[in-house]
Symmetry: C2
Subunit: 270 residues, 2 copies
């Protein structure tokens, strides 16, 4: 089977930096939540003594790593006040969103955070605010009563969904928008859509709870038949029946070695 | 013929105020351009000695009226420095747009003015700026290279066109939007669309060069067969063949007496 890989796919800057720095930590450390939304990487890190905790009470190391999605000021303060050493691997672009959101609130805007309500990046951004308003889809803005609206957006949001929400916010009289979708996200979405047009089937590789991977799946599904897998073991022979060319892309937290194995296996076995 | 009048139509606050104040001017005065975009009203004012000029050299009165669409600071300064008495009848909502635009430029935004390139309101707003960027339709934003964008919009713009342009501006990283479409415009557009759904034919009454009237015509044309007239004399018998109910709306610069004559004539003669 012929395989075409998307021009932009896999590890983004923030993930690459975080995985490298976490791998270089000497001794044991705990990450608060998974460092990135990729079980294979999290497993590799665990072998090196970098293990995930979900509550501070479960910490069994003196260093706590803040994951790429960030943490609220409140949580960071709590961790540090309990005497832990903090290794902050928050993606710098996520940090920027947190800063924008706080600044907007400071100057009197009701802050709208466009993103997944339960995603750790969005939770941390919102947790820094007195009165956040989280919006997942255009209809959600209907409940908004304030006239002065400041908008930030989850770094990995769908560009299309963001645009539709911004269009609806055109009804408000004073709107300040920081388009904080990161370049890596935009590039991956654009090149996935471009590739999906040219192939018979799209395979999106990435963690099942990875937001940006899910958005790639949604985007490609609107264009061509699309399958979401975490590793090459999830591939199913019947998907490839009658197909000639297969496109492969991957979320920003999917390591190269996982992508390479998927490409190799499709090329050789199907 | 049965006639239904749109819930909101005709003179808006700014026009009403300007026409009243112009009518109360003692003695002669010149308006710089037509006071409002309605030839019938302009003619009535001329009978009272309030006449239109297009260049300051043509002034034949000591008082110059600034029309509802406003004038640039530069022009006002020129008029006043030549010793004329200025009667400023700029719509207060238009004044607000001018202020927002200047403030945005002052704090480092490239100012995007959404509106008709040749409309006096837009020309005056833009003329106060060092580097304005006028946008009529979504494609126009493609040439914009700055990352920090401040948006204002002509008070009488189409809400739909504005929303489409704002959606496109979602690609920029830092966007500040003042939605300066006035309430009168929104109400007139909403009630025109509502009425067009319920009738067999729409008649829009208003000056041929009135921007807000043209937008009502465009809006209604997308919903039902629509005719644009200036006065009852423009009505044509064949438009009403096979129609049962006719909807009437009017631009913000169309006086009540013109609308009433249209309604009466349709009711009685067709």
């Amino acid at each position: 089977m012929q395989v075409k890989l998307a021009k932009h796919s896999g590890f983004c800057f923030g993930v690459k930096k975080a995985v490298e720095e976490a791998s270089n930590v000497k001794g044991k450390a705990n990450t608060f939540g998974p460092l990135i939304h990729n079980p294979q990487v999290v497993q590799e890190l665990a072998k090196k003594g970098i293990t995930k905790i979900d509550r501070l009470e479960d910490a069994d190391a003196s260093s706590i790593i803040i994951r790429t999605h960030g943490a609220s000021d409140k949580l960071i303060h709590e961790i540090s006040s309990k005497g832990y050493n903090i290794i902050d691997l928050t993606c710098p672009f996520v940090k920027k969103v947190q800063e924008y959101a706080k600044d907007l609130e400071k100057v009197g805007y009701r802050v709208v955070v466009i993103g997944e309500k339960d995603h750790p990046e969005v939770l941390a951004i919102a947790d820094n605010l007195k009165n956040p308003f989280v919006v997942e889809k255009p209809e959600d803005v209907d409940g908004l009563v304030e006239d002065k609206i400041g908008v930030v957006v989850q770094t990995t949001q769908s560009v299309q969904n963001f645009a539709e929400i911004i269009k609806k916010l055109g009804k408000w009289s004073d709107v300040k928008v920081h388009n904080t979708i990161c370049n890596a996200t935009k590039e991956r979405q654009e090149s996935a859509a471009e590739l999906a047009e040219k192939v018979d089937l799209m395979i999106v590789v990435g963690g099942k709870s990875s937001g940006n991977t899910k958005r790639l799946v949604e985007l490609c599904s609107g264009i061509k038949e699309t399958k979401h897998i975490e590793t090459d073991d999830d591939l199913q022979r019947e998907w490839f029946d009658g197909k000639n060319v297969v496109g492969v892309t991957a979320g920003a937290s999917t390591p190269d070695w996982v992508i390479r194995r998927v490409v190799k296996r499709i090329e050789n076995e199907f």
